[in-house]
Subunit: 390 residues, 2 copies
């Protein structure tokens, strides 16, 4: 049995970035960039009007003849003389022969005669070519996480494909003779299977969609062959149940039989003590406890950082926040506790019902309070570490 910190280290050391793939920018939200990107163009690509007004050559003339109109999108390459001006709109190409734009509010127009009532400084209201970014300049460093703004930035530079770390293919393997799919009649002695849907939803929150779900009865032979096929076809295997020491818990045996190296089994924590983490080459396996709340706690604390590492993230753990706890709390267990909690900007509230089978308070929790194994008592308003997850 190891401590939480050691388990987290072992996971970080044994999880490797996925191979790189080139994907469409439009599909890249939440991916991590696997290349450094330089701008293929100047942005703006031309001198651009920053205002609705009139483009002209700055000089001494305050009365000019309006000879043309430049709407956004137009390219006007007529010769514009010193005594001439062009009606221009925000975003439009500023004709090469002009250098300044006067706001329409500072002018008076009579037929085609423009009178500049308030002369702007030379070059005013003209965005320089490449003002935002110049051709060849750095857009994003490798390892940048693709946000909506990043997608906008890449698209405005005309970039349509980028290299990213692939997302892992995940298998969820649910074991247990007692499990019946929701919607069916519940025979005596059986319970509804819920962990596969729960883990599928948890994966979705970090952008991993449509894991493949396998269900096996408590049979060593069946468990061995299903694990084999999971290891052959998926990058990550999340197994639910079958990892305790009961005679019918075949998971660990099936993993070892398939050449998975055990990296740890059991963590000094509550809930989620019987967690197994193993690896076969670059494939990783978590055998999560069958109790729903234990299973989801282990997912957030341990599987989450492993998946983030695979996806190429630099910051892989749930961020640690400090909040003031709402009650006195005792920990006589000698284990690290992950308490379901509701945090706000300054304080954090311990929720009722922390049992490992219970999901009701977990459903409305937005984080865990971490009570370290060697801390026996916390006083109300003391600062505690909170890991946010929802």
């Amino acid at each position: 049995m190891i401590q939480v910190a050691e388990a987290l280290n072992i996971i970080a050391e044994n999880s490797f970035k996925m191979p790189i793939a080139k994907i469409k920018v439009s599909k890249s939200l939440g991916y991590v960039l696997a290349e450094t990107i330089y701008s293929p163009i100047n942005m703006p690509p031309f001198r651009q009007s920053a205002m609705d007004g009139y483009a002209f050559t700055h000089g001494n003339l305050a009365q000019l003849e309006v000879v043309n109109i430049a709407q956004a999108g137009d390219f006007l390459d007529d010769e514009i003389k010193k005594n001439q001006a062009v009606r221009i709109f925000t975003g439009a190409f500023v004709p090469d022969d002009t250098d300044t734009v006067v706001m329409q509010e500072h002018t008076r127009i009579t037929d085609n005669l423009l009178e500049i009532e308030k002369m702007p400084a030379a070059f005013a209201n003209v965005r320089a070519k490449g003002e935002q970014i110049k051709k060849g300049e750095l857009v994003f460093d490798v390892n940048t996480v693709i946000t909506p703004a990043a997608i906008g930035f890449l698209a405005c530079l005309g970039i349509t494909k980028i290299k990213v770390y692939q997302k892992p293919k995940v298998a969820i393997l649910v074991t247990g003779n007692e499990l019946v799919a929701a919607g069916k009649k519940l025979p005596k002695g059986k319970i509804y299977e819920s962990n596969s849907l729960m883990l599928e939803a948890a994966l979705k929150t970090i952008g991993i969609n449509k894991p493949t779900v396998f269900k096996v009865k408590d049979s060593l032979k069946k468990t061995i062959s299903t694990v084999e096929s999971c290891l052959a076809n998926f990058d990550v295997v999340l197994i639910s149940g079958g990892i305790s020491v009961g005679d019918y818990d075949y998971v660990k045996e099936a993993l070892l039989e398939n050449g998975v190296t055990e990296l740890f089994y059991k963590i000094n924590q509550k809930p989620g003590k019987p967690l197994f983490f193993g690896r076969k080459e670059n494939k990783i396996v978590f055998a999560l406890p069958g109790n729903p709340a234990s299973s989801l706690t282990c997912f957030y604390v341990y599987a989450f950082p492993a998946l983030k590492k695979l996806m190429g993230f630099e910051a892989i753990h749930l961020p640690e926040m400090k909040r003031k706890i709402n009650i006195d709390f005792k920990n006589s267990s000698g284990k690290t506790l992950f308490l379901k909690a509701l945090y706000e900007d300054e304080k954090v509230t311990v929720l009722e019902s922390q049992s490992s089978a219970m999901l009701n308070t977990f459903s409305i929790a937005n984080g865990f309070i971490v009570v370290p194994h060697d801390v026996t008592a916390i006083k109300v308003n003391e600062e505690v570490v909170v890991l946010p997850f929802n």
Copy 2:
């Protein structure tokens, strides 16, 4: 021109919850419950062993004959006498004639003879029927947000469908003659269109997938007919560009022509001043500024709460956090500023390059610092309001 707080109030007052639909629990992540849910079953549905061990009737006998095995999922209804016991595993049905489970670690077994070395208390290690939740008890109140744990909880009670507020159908309407799709050659005077991909990604972060994107040139007639079709087929219309006062900005005219009531136009803020918000019956329209950073700022601050309201959320705004700012900051504009920033647990850093056209720092920002319009100076380490968005 109105202030930020007034704009937010008008949006909250004019955004209405979507109609209710019954959907699969497996697809319900991020939806808001539109019904109160009571448990259709007891959970656990039967007395369940909490340990691997032996089930027996508590009494004075410490030597018992093992007559059967109860694996998880089994239903054993043989008669078990006072001097008999059943080998039992975690999660298994505890036979009706027995009341206590002794841990296997506290027993010695010889052939079929069980010797209890450490007698547990009566009823030990047996989870009562309905211990987690009883049939008819409250599962979730109306308006609960569906999290992964909530999906697990519903599924374990055998619930497969729930009533939720539908997600709005969103149209993105991009206007401008100057826009060219990324991937194409860029003629002089044109720029790449990026706002539709950016807004699509931003919608995805709140669970709204696959909005429909329309692109129109700067033509009043085309804009009118496209707006008409958007209002007929979508719940929310996000329009990008075409809302400033230039002669070729037809959006506002097209909206009014289609019977959209203007609820506000222009907010005393930077970036994103020329924001239009309107409504036609229960359909809402945001005409966002064309500049990418302005557009995305307005999306997060204004469209985001409106969409959350439609989806049934009670807490609709970006949560307000307090953080210590990293620099002295002056605001001589008289406007409310939304500064792209990077916050950590205690402090917040103002990012460089706050221009309304620039997306590079926006890409790595995780929140806005709000500088109210009537605040002219902030000192380093002063607490400021931060709105997180990534």
